[in-house]
Symmetry: C2
Subunit: 488 residues, 2 copies
């Protein structure tokens, strides 16, 4: 039985530990050992958590145990924050006490570039096997809300588990991705910052995300890979089963140099990675925002392979901009048949500059009943696969905040904000709403409320027109390719 054949059971204690030991806690509360101890304690007080240090007896009001052998119960996950030279021996001791999962947070290994650092990392790696898996060293650890574990800065992360699996060498990127997930209203099942990857690496995690039933969408930040062929195969299998979105950083010359100093990986050429994405079917993201935007589309929207889109805009200028954004994203503006066009013309205000797609509602405050009629006509016309609503103020409170009552008379129907959700559910069709950032605190607060409502009800929200079209395009492209493969 090879080390990967039981990836689910081997990873289990990282994500759902029965009890956790933290080795290397310190009286100095700013040291990583105490920080991660405090983070996990705060994140999941219900998980048995044992600080270990032979030189102190108490930490944050809890008893500190002198060694692993003194713990009152068996633990299956150890989090190690000891100085690098002490780590291999500590891992041996963990293994001897039946611990099968170890996270090594400490740095001081291969990333230092020193012979001693490399030697220590090789020694650490040699301890791993099917009965003892290691995440790290030089990482922030694992976030798994269902299992009560979190990374160094993750004490305030959501306790709700979702369906996104995330991996990154970088701890900081893992942290920022977990934070962005909250703005996008998607929930993470498990996130792993795997650092120097002396054992568990991007190949193991790709296999895990494929095997794990709760992972519905896989996302990754990749600087470089060690075993190109294995990674290619693992990602190809993963992407065939689940949307797999990868931000491959370091594709520029300077970026490749930065990758080398950051994680000592080979960044690889742009041509190689272009072929990688084309052949594996994984979706390429070009930035942190692109990565989280795309995950958000897969998370919230119903699937479609139809690349026709209707944009409903609150002004003629935005209709023009939406056309350009649609084109740049590689999607098609849907065409209406004559009957649909006639119906829309009768619904839209006479001043509308565009009764063809994109539709121009003339102002950002169309009456709720008019907007309902437009949405129903468009969604039921059979002419489109998705709808993007841009520069239309979608709630009564927001209309007040933006001063609509000084400008436009319209019914104040509280169901206005429900329209995108109704259409999404009735027609099982992706509906995306563009709501710009910025504005005063009352705008921010209402934007946050409305986004949350949409996210909880399967409507995706983006802060610019282009980001909405780009994320939708990546989703449609994935399902089209998958459909073609399945149809073969």
């Amino acid at each position: 039985m090879g080390p990967d054949s039981n990836i689910l059971s081997q990873m289990r204690p990282f994500f759902n530990p029965r009890a956790i030991a933290v080795l290397g806690v310190s009286k100095d509360l700013w040291k990583f050992g105490s920080v991660i101890y405090g983070s996990i304690r705060n994140f999941a007080p219900q998980i048995p958590l044992y600080p270990v240090n032979s030189r102190i007896s108490e930490l944050m009001g809890e008893k500190v145990y002198p060694s692993i052998s003194d713990l009152p119960e068996e633990v299956d996950l150890a989090v190690i924050c000891l100085p690098a030279p002490l780590v291999p021996e500590a891992v041996r001791e963990c293994s001897a006490h039946g611990i099968s999962a170890v996270e090594v947070i400490s740095g001081g290994f291969g990333e230092t570039g020193t012979a001693e650092g490399k030697r220590l990392q090789a020694e650490l790696g040699s301890l791993a096997g099917p009965g003892l898996r290691i995440v790290g060293p030089n990482c922030f650890g694992v976030y798994s809300p269902a299992g009560g574990v979190t990374i160094i800065p993750g004490s305030g992360y959501p306790r709700i588990a979702g369906s996104v699996g995330f991996m990154a060498q970088s701890g900081a990127l893992t942290d920022v991705f977990c934070k962005l997930s909250q703005d996008h209203g998607f929930y993470i099942n498990q996130a792993v910052s795997y650092g120097n990857a002396c054992d568990i690496n991007e190949v193991d995690l790709a296999k895990y995300f494929l095997a794990d039933e709760k992972t519905r969408i896989a996302a990754a930040y990749i600087e470089g890979v060690r075993a190109g062929k294995s990674f290619f195969e693992a990602v190809q299998n993963l992407a065939a089963a689940k949307p797999t979105i990868i931000w491959k950083a370091g594709l520029s010359p300077g970026g490749a140099k930065a990758v080398a100093s950051h994680t000592g990986s080979l960044a690889g050429s742009e041509a190689v990675w272009t072929a990688f994405f084309k052949q594996t079917g994984a979706i390429q993201a070009l930035s942190l925002e692109d990565l989280s935007d795309t995950v958000s589309a897969f998370y919230h929207l119903p699937t479609t392979r139809d690349n026709r889109v209707v944009a409903i805009c609150g002004a003629g200028g935005f209709a023009v901009a939406a056309s350009d954004a649609c084109y740049r994203a590689g999607l098609s503006l849907a065409s209406f048949d004559e009957a649909t066009h006639a119906k829309l013309t009768s619904i839209l205000p006479p001043a509308s500059s565009a009764t063809n797609n994109p539709l121009d509602c003339v102002n950002p405050f169309p009456s709720p009943s008019m907007l309902r009629d437009i949405l129903e006509t468009v969604a039921s016309s059979g002419s489109t696969g998705s709808i993007i609503i841009d520069k239309v103020t979608m709630s009564v409170p927001m209309r007040h905040i933006l001063g609509h009552s000084r400008m436009v008379r319209s019914e104040e129907e509280p169901w206005l904000e429900e329209l995108p959700v109704r259409i999404r559910n009735q027609f099982n069709m992706p509906v995306l709403v563009v709501m710009r950032d910025g504005g005063d605190p009352s705008y921010d607060s209402e934007r946050r409320r409305l986004s949350k409502y949409y996210h909880e009800n399967g409507v995706a929200v983006y802060s610019t027109t282009q980001r909405a079209f780009d994320a939708l395009a990546k989703m449609i492209k994935y399902y089209k390719r998958k459909g073609q493969n399945n149809d073969r």
Copy 2:
């Protein structure tokens, strides 16, 4: 004397009227006449403002005058919101009473596509001349904070005049640009939504922005132009003197169609516009965000032609991402000489993955004194033209909000946030700070405070790494070209 030879004096009453008449106010407070009357009244109560309507005697507690001839003093600007068929006669009456500037807000002209609409617009245009200039019809009007005039939704706009001139056919885009200016902390001198442009058009406004001393930066949203050659010449002259940033929308096939229905203009091919930008030296923006990002760079940053940049990042992963963003923007990562590199290595924490550019501070909370030493070393090294700070938490309150005190021990020096401003002033060097959107209300509020402080002190703030590099690149490219032209 042609109609353009006295563009400054002809435009004066639009931007600095002595008194304003609003024709077409209504008891119905949601009609455009009453809305814009209310907007201007609220925006600038000190400006003499006279509502005119023969059928009502009072509006919002103020006396309504039956006709222009009944006004108690001479006015120089008339804002007209009458039904289209009544507009030409009203304009004649305005002219007869010495009014030399008319804004026609009303729609129902050329944009309807009807013969009658086109005839009315032609009639209106025929009334214009050096002694009577017309903005509109079918527009939102003019915003000029120094002169106390504002557009339909502009009652809450800043009363502070800045140095940006903006023009757009679209009223909605004018509104959104004016709102975005507030997030970016730049102030507008004058913004004109010129609608169907029966008289004043993009050529006049380009000439005006060139002639007007207070306009330091010109920005435009353009769907199409009527007189290509005149526009080319006007923009070429303008861009030679002042940064001129143009978002040309409708470059895609669908966008061109949308332009035709929105403003009846010819959008023009992408190749034509690529040549236009190359030959005029105007800067092309690709979206609303790009437009305001770029204006922000010109507004806040000191000029430079040096395309070398140093990025200072709060994590190794962000250093990699910054390299890629720099490359995509067409800028160069600065190289350090040996002495500078040695000095930076001694300042940065031992765990730093990158002591070459981009610099990795290891975590987003470097101590203020370390950050000061890094910034001073970099800025004084002679190796770079600009500095971008990314993923570094730049204020003590923000560090508390983000929970730094649970993670990193560092001095709480209130001068931390002043560092970018000090470096900017001491070295007269562009400094840009990347601060991401999102987060909870306390984050939003501190982000707003800190952005405002930076904007008031010549530091530009962007919400993503790529947007910071792109905006800086557009600024540098403009000054490089200008420098080359001047050096000839």
